[in-house]
């Protein structure tokens, strides 16, 4: 059996009311909030955070593939997927692949992984993230929301079995960004909805249902991406799905998350699926992909890392359009980390990215970073490199207004990692007044600084969500 073995969705903690954006441009507003990255997040960190959640839900299963899909990958040359694989501390032989340029990159990657699997293969994580930049002042600026998601495809402990799949491409342009463009050029119109969205989805959904000998009424949930809320409902009506069958896109608090969207919706649908449920997932973008899954009995045993549904997520509001903009622009002029050479990085990568430390054979002390002489017993012949836990508790912290940040104060914490080792990092996604000594936290990869033609990623921490 092959199918889905794990899943996660990760949206930014920060959000902005769409009416704040409308106020800034004196335009008419759309309802609700869009989720928007903090200054230290991007498509890679959102996808990596989801991949880490997904990975930790698999209970130590061997991973032999990691795909990353995005239209806003931070690196155009240098594998983002390989960096995420390293953040997940995956083995060297893991197959990494970057998928770009189409909003269906994530779902195409999932289909590719699933159809490429044979019974001997183990597990591939497909993660997706997007932080799309619309033209300032456009309706798309209110629509586009940032988000990340990850689905693990495999053959053991399958929670949703692949029943059928279909794909179709269409070289049609409805939203475009060239290599030299900062913003998406949108060709939004009724024609774009009909030709670019409804037509290709209708084709692949029909194809999948025919293959499986099913019709719309047999489907428990249709998880389908969409360019906006109205088109989503229009599509469902045309395909003959009722409101209860249609997976809500949670437009009031997020919604249109680009490449991540089909996998976000699939994760939410899986969260409440019961054994035997048929789940249909589809995504569009210069064509469409669709897959039909049947939830297995094992789904009741699967432990999700933390809820995928937005209702249970932390929400911190950008109080103004200016602050939202500042979060997106902050690093653009930064020039830090110039001293970081590839020699230095290659040497320190196991510690910086994989979060390896040392464990002492003699006294058992676990320590960070990798050491040659033990901090506990001062012996130099007993240390072994070891992965450290990405969860822990705050030993002490500071709230620093002197440190240059777009969102002062910067809360810095000394964190005692579960199982041993101490790390010093920023606390994010929580009001400084709520940070306390003893608070349980989890580590999350963030963009630490930018300079020398590089983004520098490192660990920060936030209040713990999962168990």
């Amino acid at each position: 059996m092959k199918g889905i073995v794990g899943h996660a969705a990760r949206i930014p903690a920060y959000r902005i009311a769409r009416e704040e954006i409308a106020r800034a441009w004196q335009t008419s507003s759309l309802a609700g909030h869009k989720r928007a990255v903090r200054f230290d997040e991007d498509a890679l960190t959102l996808a990596a955070a989801a991949a880490l959640d997904c990975h930790s839900s698999l209970g130590g299963a061997e991973i032999d593939g990691l795909f990353f899909a995005s239209t806003t990958a931070p690196y155009l040359e240098r594998s983002n997927a390989s960096l995420i694989a390293a953040l997940c501390d995956l083995p060297e032989k893991c197959s990494t692949l970057d998928l770009a340029a189409s909003l269906r990159g994530g779902i195409s990657g999932l289909r590719l992984a699933l159809t490429g699997l044979d019974s001997g293969s183990s597990t591939t994580i497909i993660c997706a993230g997007d932080c799309r930049e619309a033209q300032p002042g456009s309706a798309e600026e209110m629509l586009y929301s940032d988000g990340g998601s990850a689905i693990a495809a495999g053959t053991k402990n399958v929670i949703a079995e692949l029943i059928a799949d279909a794909t179709a491409y269409d070289d049609f342009f409805d939203a475009v960004r060239r290599d030299r463009d900062l913003h998406v050029t949108s060709f939004a119109s009724k024609f774009s909805i009909d030709r670019g969205y409804i037509a290709p989805i209708t084709e692949v959904v029909g194809d999948v249902l025919r293959q499986a000998g099913k019709s719309a009424k047999d489907i428990a949930k249709l998880a389908v991406s969409s360019p906006d809320r109205r088109a989503h409902q229009q599509l469902a009506r045309k395909l003959g799905f009722n409101e209860a069958q249609l997976q809500d896109i949670q437009f009031d608090d997020g919604g249109i998350t680009g490449t991540a969207m089909p996998l976000v919706l699939l994760s939410i649908a899986l969260e409440s699926a019961k054994p035997g449920d048929l789940l249909l997932v589809a995504g569009y973008g210069n064509g469409a992909d669709a897959m039909l899954f049947r939830a297995t009995d094992y789904i009741t045993s699967y432990k999700l890392h933390s809820p995928s549904s937005v209702q249970k997520a932390v929400a911190i509001d950008y109080k103004s359009y200016t602050m939202y903009r500042r979060a997106r622009e902050f690093f653009r002029s930064a020039d830090q980390g110039l001293e970081i050479s590839n020699v230095f990085y290659a040497k320190d990568e196991p510690q910086i990215v994989r979060l390896h430390g040392s464990a002492c054979r003699h006294c058992g002390t676990r320590q960070f970073p990798v050491a040659q002489v033990c901090v506990g017993c001062n012996k130099g012949d007993g240390l072994e490199e070891t992965p450290l836990a990405r969860t822990g508790a705050i030993y002490t912290f500071s709230e620093d207004t002197l440190y240059p940040s777009p969102f002062p104060p910067t809360v810095m914490a000394v964190v005692d990692l579960d199982g041993g080792g101490r790390i010093y990092c920023e606390v994010v996604d929580v009001a400084p007044s709520e940070v306390k000594i003893g608070m349980s936290v989890e580590l999350t990869p963030r963009k630490l600084k930018e300079g020398g033609g590089l983004y520098h990623y490192y660990w920060k921490c936030s209040p713990r969500r999962g168990k």
Binding site: G337, E339, I340, D348, Q351, I352, T365, R366, Q367, F368, P369, V375, G376, Y395, T396, F397, S398, E399, D400, T401, L402, Y403, P409, T410, M412, V414, D416, G420, G421, R422, I423, Y424, C425, E426, I437, L448, K449, H456, Y458
Partner: protein, 389 residues
């Protein structure tokens, strides 16, 4: 058995510039003022000085961190100069190495100069240099001391108003000191209402960034009488280094500074001091932040761990107390030009022991202690000086 340093080295002259925002003085000009002041005070000429130690922390435009900064400023040539850098304990460590050279019998007369020009930099606060670009990113000087202060306050229940008392005391002392950066009294309310820098430190809980230089002339104790009757003798010195990354050390309790405890043990042992609170008459300690001074009381053995709050609240460290701390105004009020600070402490102790401290004079002072703390508590140096009985 190693030979004790005690009573082999004398301080015969000291000099110090006004500390503050010395916008009209270059690093060289400040060094020359402090060094020639110390020579004049000792009654020696620069030609009599056979070697020099320069304590400076940051690179500057007039020669960087190198020894040539001093050579070019003073035209002190053809003789050895050693540059010392040991975080904020740079000044006392420069003094320590100069004292060793005298004790070793290598030279009769040497000079220590500590100097720093911090106010010609475009950044606020003290630049954190040489730190790991990932493991230590996000740190500032107040931030890393606040980590320890917050853990301490969590453990012992101390409040910000106790910290404020340290600032009020040191400003009161600084108001009596014509060379201090700040010469103004402040109130507890001002301290508590000041803008927050890094909780629990508001603006008045932090020492300023300051320009300044200080110098001392050291000679063999058995030759000191030739220069002056009221020479001062080195009773003991200790220096200890702990981790530079205490925030990554899983074995630390983060309630104070073990470096100070170790440095003090070494210095007390050399000086034959068993009960510091009774045998030390006054101390110049490293109050980079108000809480640091509270921890210093404990780490130097003036009181037990956790009792530092009581020590300040009972007024024991005030100018009229039984163990006045920072009669100069301390880093808080005198200012903190990194490499100069330790040598400035020597200047203050010598001035007090000679009874020349004017309005801030500690009555009957015979033994004084200087304490420098560098990095995030990584390095501590303790120097004990005494009047020649």
């Amino acid at each position: 058995m190693s030979k004790s340093l005690a009573d082999q080295v004398a301080v015969i002259g000291v000099g110090c510039t006004k500390f503050g925002e010395n916008f009209d003085q270059s690093l060289s000009e400040m060094m020359v003022e402090a060094a020639t002041g110390a020579c004049k005070d000792a009654g020696v000429s620069l030609d009599d000085v056979k070697a020099a130690w320069l304590g400076t922390f940051s690179p500057s435009f007039s020669g960087g961190k190198a020894t040539i900064t001093l050579a070019d400023a003073l035209k002190f040539r053809g003789r050895p100069i050693t540059r010392v850098e040991n975080f904020c304990a740079t000044g006392t460590d420069a003094f320590r190495n100069a004292a060793f050279a005298i004790a070793a019998g290598q030279y009769d007369i040497v000079m220590v100069v500590g100097a720093e020009k911090l106010r010609d930099r475009p950044v606020r606060g003290l630049q954190r240099e040489g730190i790991h670009p990932y493991f230590e990113a996000g740190s500032t000087a107040p931030g890393i001391f606040a980590l320890v202060a917050n853990r301490y306050m969590h453990t012992f229940g101390m409040q910000r108003d106790t910290l404020a008392k340290v600032a009020v005391k040191n400003h009161a002392n600084g108001a009596l000191n014509p060379k201090a950066h700040f010469q103004m009294k402040i109130t507890e309310e001002q301290v508590l209402k000041a803008p927050m820098i890094a909780y629990p430190f508001g603006l008045f809980d932090c020492c300023p960034t300051t320009d300044g230089a200080a110098a001392a002339i050291l000679c063999r104790a058995d030759l000191a009488k030739q220069f002056r009757k009221d020479f001062i003798v080195v009773r003991g010195i200790g220096l200890a280094v702990m981790s530079g990354k205490p925030y990554l050390d899983p074995t630390g309790d983060y309630l104070g500074f073990p470096s100070t405890e170790a440095a003090a043990r070494e210095a007390y042992s050399a000086a034959g001091i068993a009960e510091p609170v009774k045998e030390v008459d006054f101390a110049e300690v490293h109050d980079c932040f108000t809480w640091t001074e509270v921890s210093n009381y404990e780490d130097l053995g003036f009181c037990k761990k956790g009792e530092g709050a009581k020590f300040i609240e009972e007024g024991r460290s005030s100018l009229q107390g039984d163990l006045p701390v920072n009669p100069s105004g301390g880093l808080k009020s005198f200012g903190h030009p990194v490499g100069a600070t330790g040598v400035r402490m020597i200047y203050e102790i010598v001035t007090q022991l000679r009874g020349e401290a004017g309005a801030r004079q500690v009555k009957g002072a015979k033994v004084g202690l200087a304490h420098n703390l560098g990095g995030p508590g990584a390095v501590a140096c303790v120097v004990i000086l005494g009047r020649e009985a």
